[in-house]
């Protein structure tokens, strides 16, 4: 028995060396390949604005978004909860890098259609790409009736947004995104000065736990339809993820949930207390 034990002990020592070796050997013989960075953000929105995330091929996202009235509307309005703007949307990824969406906002009775195409994917490995980039384009149709006798044509009702979304997942926790934006409005009001808006969005997320992130977002307008009316959109919120759902809860001065609205037509002053509580709920279905 004793010699056997000795031999066993001897082999155990050898084992330790051998095992380290074997794992090392596996590591060495690993083939070099690209690793695409996943989950830069949890959802397809940072808060109001789109993130660089697109859904994977065959995924249909049903998104319900709400923005209540402003917090400073007081107890009579239950701090805004009595009023609610809603956007319902279906967003579908036809291909791996291409998704389209159709939505309808109660605010100004506006329909929106967008297209999102992934130009670049952040990756490491044989090829290093430091950022993900997405091209975003949308058209909106405002169908709210006017009561001033002016009859807008179909074209008049349109506003188009183009964005380049560039983001980097800097650490597993921290992601930062820049969103240069250009919006063109086919019709402006008499007291507005120009038809377009140029803005730069900056947003990010910080992962608090594996299922909860803190998000913030700001859209700076270089010029807009009229400085006196429109403020920059600011939003802070959290993403909570449970299985197939992502819940996003936020505080923002923007009423609209579509680009042409929150970037270029936010009338509320965040620091004046005109803040809406709101949420986005996204439910993803794998259709194929």
């Amino acid at each position: 028995m004793k010699p056997l034990l000795l031999v066993a002990a001897f082999f155990t020592v050898l084992d330790l060396y051998g095992q380290d070796d074997l794992l090392g050997l596996l590591e060495e013989s690993e083939r070099a390949r690209d690793e695409v960075t996943i989950a830069t953000f949890k959802g397809t929105r940072i808060i109001n604005g789109h993130s660089v995330e697109t859904r994977n091929e065959g995924v249909l996202d049903f998104i319900i978004s709400h923005r209540f009235g402003t917090l400073n509307s007081g107890a009579y309005e239950l701090w805004g909860l009595d009023q609610s703007n809603i956007r319902l949307a279906l967003e579908y990824a036809f291909f791996e890098d291409l998704m389209v969406g159709l939505g309808r906002s109660s605010f100004e009775k506006t329909y929106d259609a967008f297209l999102k195409y992934k130009l670049l994917k952040q990756k490491t490995g044989t090829k290093n790409i430091p950022v993900s980039a997405v091209l975003f384009a949308s058209t909106t149709i405002k169908t709210l009736r006017r009561f001033d006798g002016f009859e807008p044509t179909f074209i008049d009702k349109l506003a188009n947004t183009t964005q380049l979304l560039v983001a980097r997942k800097i650490t597993p926790e921290l992601s930062i995104q820049l969103s240069p934006t250009y919006i063109y409005y086919h019709l402006i009001e008499a007291n507005e000065k120009r038809n377009d808006v140029a803005a730069l969005g900056i947003g990010g997320r910080y992962k608090i736990t594996s299922r909860v992130t803190f998000n913030a977002e700001y859209f700076y307008q270089f010029f807009n339809k009229n400085d006196q009316f429109y403020h920059d959109a600011i939003a802070v919120g959290v993403d909570i993820e449970t299985g197939g759902h992502v819940f996003q809860l936020q505080f923002t001065n923007a009423t609209a949930m579509i680009e042409k609205g929150f970037i270029g037509e936010t009338r509320n002053d965040f620091f004046g207390g005109d803040i809406h509580f709101g949420f986005n709920i996204s439910r993803a279905f794998q259709l194929k």
Binding site: L22, L25, E241
Partner: protein, 181 residues
């Protein structure tokens, strides 16, 4: 029968400290509850067996597990196994009573107990599993199946999905090692 004879012929070459590597091994896990079955496949697992000592090692990148539902795959990596922090599952161990000639003799499938340490999600546990070996003139095949408790590896299941994800998952792995001539 022919294969067995070939197998006998290659034993001598195999005995000299041969380390056989499979870079595209197959690993699969399966979780089943009345509400939902979840499974994922990894075709890029790596395994090595040292035929001189009976030592084995396995390294599996978590990110290479493929799910039917892409979102599930993202959640697996982000929320459950945290593959940013713990990119790989590894196993190192040795085959009990290993006898390479027995492995290569291929009269039938030969079954060995493998003991060692498994690391997943930053937690290491001593484990034991049955591994079946079978060989032909070109390949040495190894396969195993065992049950893994998520709790043992500190993988949390949130209460809202407790009915969707089983506490124990069934793991299957298959290796095909090229046998040098």
């Amino acid at each position: 029968m022919k294969a067995q004879i070939f197998g006998l012929l290659i034993i001598p070459s195999v005995l000299f400290g041969q380390k056989l590597i499979d870079r595209s091994a197959y690993a699969h896990f399966y979780s089943s509850t009345p509400l939902e079955d979840i499974e994922a496949v990894n075709k890029k697992a790596m395994g090595v067996v040292d035929l001189s000592s009976g030592q084995v090692a396995v390294a599996i990148k978590m990110i290479d597990f493929e799910f039917d539902r892409s979102l599930m795959q993202e959640h697996f990596n982000e929320n459950y196994v945290e593959s940013d922090k713990y990119p790989k599952a590894t196993f190192t161990g040795s085959i009990a009573d290993f006898d390479s000639s027995k492995v290569m003799k291929l009269i039938d499938t030969v079954s060995f107990k493998v003991k060692g340490s498994m690391s997943i999600h930053g937690i290491t546990n001593e484990v034991e599993a049955e591994v079946n070996f079978i060989a032909n003139e070109r390949k040495l095949y190894a396969s195993t199946k065992f049950i893994l408790a998520l709790e043992d590896y500190d993988i949390d299941i949130p209460k809202v999905v407790i009915l969707n994800i089983a506490e124990e998952v069934e793991v299957t792995a298959r290796f095909a090692f090229d046998v040098p001539k």
